[in-house]
Amino acid sequence: MTASAVIHADGVCVRYGETLALDGVDLRVDPGAVHGLIGMNGSGKSSLFKALMGLVALDAGTIRLFGADPAAARRAGRVSYTPQSEDVDWGFPVSVADVVLMGRYGHMGWRRKAGADDRRAVDAALERVELTALRDRQIGELSGGQKKRAFVARALAQGAELLFLDEPFAGVDKRSEQTITDVLRELAAAGRTIVVSTHDLIAVPRLCDRVTLINRRIVDTGAPDAMLVPERLAEAFGGFVPQEALVLHARAEVSA
């Protein structure tokens, strides 16, 4: 919408062999907001994430981050990524604090030696997600929600301006979900930009300012209550309306 969009994708196509995963996707994400990407499995949600992160080659189209080449934004440490749980080797010999410290690597010299600033940033980030007491645990010894909080702390320690979170609420307990939602809302209030991919529709209204429905192409973008209605969701989910959508809709009717 405005020239100051943090993410500006134009006509993005991504193809894996014969399969067209993304077909002409246009996306603008403005700063200071939490933006939800919603779609079923195979909708191109994760392909769009990968394209925005520069992890897959574009078949067509362009992506600008902060109005410039995405690689420049990555090198400047402005971009962070919180992976899905399945993509992490939880047996890896690193502690919770080690993982959070990795958020600071972009700020360090080539040997990645931590300075006082880095340690302070790690301490503050761990404190914010309430993991200070568990900082010396091996990363796999945390519960599902604590693990997610550890990776959110890594993004906090990094001081990233654009945060990508892939399924942040999958396998997460209520307390962790609350903490993560609060942290992301604070970051958005402070002008940071957050992009969340999720199929957990229940969490969306409290978390997101805007929602994009995706099904290989962009179905629609708008405020959560305008998007999370059965008709729109049916389009995004290929005719099938997820159970949670009906629950959300019923709740909205009652409170109206």
């Binding site: 992490v88 047996g91 010999p93 990795m102 030696k113 796999g140 945390l142």
Partner: protein, 299 residues
């Protein structure tokens, strides 16, 4: 006991052998930590076998054997990656095809080219008969790998743990992969002297695997791995002297024995410890994970 250790030292060949053994033990142990965590064991096996034709051709042309070995070691990595990218062949099959093909080529070359090279020494190592030139190569190359890997260890750990985060903050996972694969090729050359082509892969995997059963922090894993590597190369070399047995064989037997003891008795991750009830949070933490694959498709 003291004599058991000091007697062999009066021979110069034993002093040289032990120097090589220590260098090989340290360098292999360091690299093996990453190979274990990345799941690259098969890649280590492949590179070690693929260097054979390079070693033979180097002797023919009169170059240091490290030159040919590196060309073929790095070449095999390139071939495996290329085969993987340009066909529907999966990576393990690509590795299997490439390394056996190159190893076979090496066997043919050894048998048709009349040379001083003793196939047996290349295949099974000859640490008790290393020449001065060999020692310079081993120590020089070994120190180079050691310095590079230790200086960049934090970045390499980040790459092995979360290559997507590395990419997100502007560190090229591709470059880290190339660095590790290059180090692998050089380390294979260093270790050939001590244990030979067939057993190099043991030096590249077992120290790291043993340490992984004992440590939950990378730096501790690295220290334990080095201790295991050096203990087995030095003790193995002594055993080989006293028993008049194959040096490579003795070294790898010690290594395997250390692994088995650790596998059984490691306080946290050993077989016996696992039989005791463990905290719930520690049990739910297993599961498959995506890891970077050498020469794999673009991530």
């Amino acid at each position: 006991m003291t004599e058991w250790l000091t007697d062999p030292l009066q021979f110069e060949f034993m002093q040289r052998a032990l120097l090589v053994a220590v260098v090989v033990g340290i360098v292999c142990a360091i690299l093996s930590c990453w190979l274990t965590l990345l799941g690259w064991s098969l890649m280590g096996d492949a590179v070690s076998h693929a260097v054979l034709p390079g070693v033979v051709l180097s002797y023919v042309v009169g170059l240091p054997f490290a030159v040919g070995a590196f060309l073929f070691g790095a070449g095999s990595v390139g071939l495996i990656g290329g085969l993987n990218r340009t066909s529907r062949i999966k990576e393990d099959a690509a590795i299997g095809v490439v390394f056996t093909g190159l190893f076979a080529l090496g066997l043919v070359l050894v048998s048709v080219i009349p040379s001083q090279t003793d196939l047996f020494h290349i295949l099974f190592g000859n640490v008790l008969g290393v020449s001065d030139a060999d020692i310079y190569q081993v120590v020089g190359l070994g120190l180079a790998v050691l310095v590079v890997l230790l200086a960049l260890r934090r970045t390499l750990v980040l790459y092995a743990f979360d290559p997507v985060h590395a990419h997100a903050i502007g560190i090229s996972p591709r470059r880290m992969e190339m660095l590790l694969l290059g180090s692998l090729a050089v380390t294979v050359i260093v270790a050939l002297q001590a244990v030979g082509i067939v057993l190099v892969v043991a030096m590249l995997i077992t120290p790291g695997a043993t340490a992984y059963l004992l440590a939950d922090r990378f730096d501790r894993m690295l220290a334990i791995s080095i201790a295991v590597g050096v203990l087995s190369t030095v003790l193995g070399t002594y055993l080989s002297y006293h028993l008049d047995a194959s040096t490579g064989g003795c070294i790898v037997c010690v290594l395997a024995a250390l692994f088995v003891v650790t596998y059984l008795f490691s306080p946290r991750h050993g077989l016996l410890a696992r039989r005791r009830p463990r905290p719930r949070s520690a049990i739910e933490s297993t599961g498959p994970a995506a890891r970077p694959v050498p020469g794999g498709r673009a991530r």
